[in-house]
Chain length 231, copies 2
DNA sequence: CTTTTCAGTGTACGCACGTTCACTATGGCC
DNA sequence: GGCCATAGTGAACGTGCGTACACTGAAAAG
């Protein structure tokens, strides 16, 4: 019970801001705001790390603060609840996903599929935690988070549909059918991401999943090219 | 605090077996075993009902027993833990899914797609809880449950692949490509189920999801028909 | 230099949880 | 008819949780 003070504190703070601060040139924000931002980010990172093993509903506020090294009550300086942190995590993860799609959209048209799948594989490996979080919480136990993900996914579908409309053979298609194909492609991509996430450390598995995913999208493209909508 | 005894008990038991028992002709099992089976099933049903709102990881043993009307400790007469109940729930739900696929397999070949999608819609509406459970826990927080679902899904994929092999145009295909198409179809079906589960009480939404799902599978079939595997 | 603001501290609370244990009463069996 | 076996009981425990509250000390504002 005794002698447990200043274990790993630095000037009364367990989180060591002093060192990292000086080497950063984000002078625009005051020292104070910058520190707050860093702690907030540390909470998000810690949560994402812990979410590798459990789900958001099974993750406690105390676990997250413990991981960061702050006292539980300090959590409320940044989020009103774990659910709110979850929604923030959706935003962060979705930024990753959107960046990925922006990259994919820039690939050359003559082999858009191969390029897209390659980029998916790269990004999933580089941001495994973000994708695992999205896939898991998409149908998870927190309604707000579920809604946020569903909304983003729907948006991605409609963006893809307008992209498809620019292809020569598809310019005459009606909106509904474009959307139908776009949603199918999203389903397939989610399947590919799931397969990649299954064993992301095994290069053989990743290569195989990439190969298969590429062919699956090709099947869809081929089917689309031969499609004639029933009246 | 006082006078709270025998509220809804029957002969010392809160669960009323006596009435329901007589009208059942499962005489093969003794009264005792039959009662145990019923309570076990009541636990599974209660869990499935509660899982509509939360996820398995966020569901407590006490909640489930409260719902059934037995004392928490009695839970252990049936399952060693909530995780074990989860695995039992996977088995039950998978039986539903397998029945669905068996039905789908029996439909006439000339319009297998329309028939299959209709059966999917029917079954998802009839056993909403089972499908919601599977979709949710597929990527959920309980490893044992995740594994059980992944295994079953893989099995379904390989069964579908052997079914495909019987189609005239596909008899020459190699196993790997058949599997690739089968997995794509599974991805699409999961997407359809997800869409149906989104607003299962809205008949318009269900009809629309069915229509779209049918077309998506048709796109895949069309793509498959025109596919020529790269060397 | 003084005052204000506020991110993080530390204690304390009430609550729900999983699990233990000794128990009770009923169905099954000789 | 009497003796097991066992499904369900009820009290009790230790633990971890979310949250309230008064606090501290350094950055920001004056």
């Amino acid at each position: 019970m005794e002698s447990c003070e200043n274990r790993n504190k630095v000037g009364g703070y367990r989180v060591d801001h002093a060192r990292t601060l000086t080497q950063v040139s984000e002078v625009a924000l005051g020292i104070r705001q910058e520190r707050k931002r860093r702690t907030r980010q540390a909470l998000l990172d810690a949560a994402l790390r812990l979410l590798d093993r459990s789900s958001l509903a099974g993750l406690s506020l105390r676990e997250v603060t413990r991981e960061v090294g702050i006292v539980p009550t300090a959590f409320y300086r940044h989020f009103a609840s774990m659910d709110e942190l979850g929604v923030a995590l959706v935003e962060e993860s979705m930024r990753t996903l959107r960046d990925m799609l922006r990259d994919a959209r820039r690939t050359r048209v003559d082999d858009a599929i191969r390029g897209s799948v390659r980029i998916i594989a790269e990004q999933v490996l580089a941001h495994e935690n973000h994708f695992r979080f999205l896939i898991r919480e998409r149908h998870g136990g927190v309604p707000d988070v579920r809604r946020a993900i569903a909304t983003e996914l729907r948006f991605i579908g409609s963006e893809l549909a307008t992209d498809l409309a620019r292809f020569p053979g598809l310019s005459a298609w009606d909106t509904e059918d474009l959307r139908m194909v776009a949603d199918l492609m999203v389903s397939a991509m989610l399947g590919i991401v799931t397969a990649l996430l299954d064993r992301p450390r095994d290069p053989d598995h990743v290569a195989e999943a990439t190969r298969v995913g590429e062919r699956q999208l090709r099947i869809i493209a081929l089917g689309t090219a031969h499609w004639r909508s029933p009246r």
